[in-house]
């Protein structure tokens, strides 16, 4: 169905979240203001308060949407890519894509500012990491079952080290503006923690 002439397109609320997401990924939750978002939207901060009562609620909505979209991407990977090894590579590429735009994982930034976040945001941040670890654990276990991967310990432990290793690789690579730095670390990390089983 076509949009009406006076339809502003994507809901203001969604566009606000898009802008806020980018701002947090680039500058951190304490590094932007309502005025930054309102300015880019072409509305006033008062109007923005209509959509989000406060910055805490905005932040909460931000993580929730991010986690849902991330889960959808993980589901897509499972649907489109059969092998465990290739799924891991696709997973790392989700992060590389962010970095290519100069962004950082939303929950990675928020983890750095954790102590300053309102409680509801804090819980959502750890839930995101839990979600990632659970997905990776399942991929690694599938790789073991297929016989395509070798691990030196429990899958859950490897999953944790991979998640944190990739977050750290992004954290350090971004100041240098070198996506290659991230990729090299990611490859080495995956190859040494979940190496391909010999044929």
């Amino acid at each position: 169905m076509a949009r009406r002439a006076n339809d502003s397109g994507p809901e203001t609320r969604e566009r606000a979240l898009d802008i806020a997401e980018e701002l947090v990924q680039r500058r951190g939750f304490n590094g932007f203001s309502y005025a930054d978002i309102a300015g880019r939207l072409g509305i006033t901060t008062a109007s923005l308060h209509y959509h989000f009562p406060g910055k805490a609620e905005l932040g909460r909505s931000l993580i929730q949407r991010y986690a849902e979209r991330f889960a959808a991407r993980l589901a897509e990977i499972e649907a489109a890519i059969p092998g465990a090894r290739d799924r891991l590579e696709a997973y790392a590429n989700l992060y590389a894509a962010l970095l290519r735009e100069g962004r950082f994982c939303l929950c990675g930034v928020l983890a750095a500012e954790y102590e300053t976040l309102p409680a509801p945001m804090q819980e959502a941040v750890t839930a995101f990491f839990d979600q990632n670890e659970a997905w990776l654990t399942q991929v690694l276990e599938a790789g073991l079952a297929e016989g395509t991967l070798q691990l030196s310990g429990p899958a859950a432990a490897a999953a944790r080290t991979i998640v944190s290793g990739l977050e750290g690789a992004m954290l350090v690579a971004r100041p240098y503006g070198e996506v290659e730095r991230f990729k090299a670390a990611a490859v080495q990390l995956l190859e040494s923690l979940a190496r391909a089983a010999p044929v």
Copy 2:
């Protein structure tokens, strides 16, 4: 030499840096104010401006002192610990000690806020990572020469993956308040990237 009776002890400047360091490690550079430091010191913000003209200069001094102290610790490790494998473990323990106090690596936090930092601080952050990578590279190469370590690639590449892997392990472990999470990741990281050579 004994201190005079009216000597306030450690210079106010140094005490200010101590407090600022802790605040940044816990809350980030955009998560504290001059008032936080002045309040804890029992002086006014105006007095604090006497020691540091602005927040940018304070931040710059902070990183510089942090990097110098860190370098001193690395030198101590080299002086006190002979084997490459044990040196790596001691290196990881430097980070674990921070985490035990609920702190994060100063430059790790600053990397997350990188885009919002004044230029002189930005350069100092990457210099810190460079310093760490250089030290680790040299330790890894010594381990290769001794025949006590096995690497799957160049020492410099492994060093980068170790630095970023440890930073990430801290980043993710802190929200959970679990030092064990960091330690498990650190052990796994070191064991798979710089494994002990078989006897």
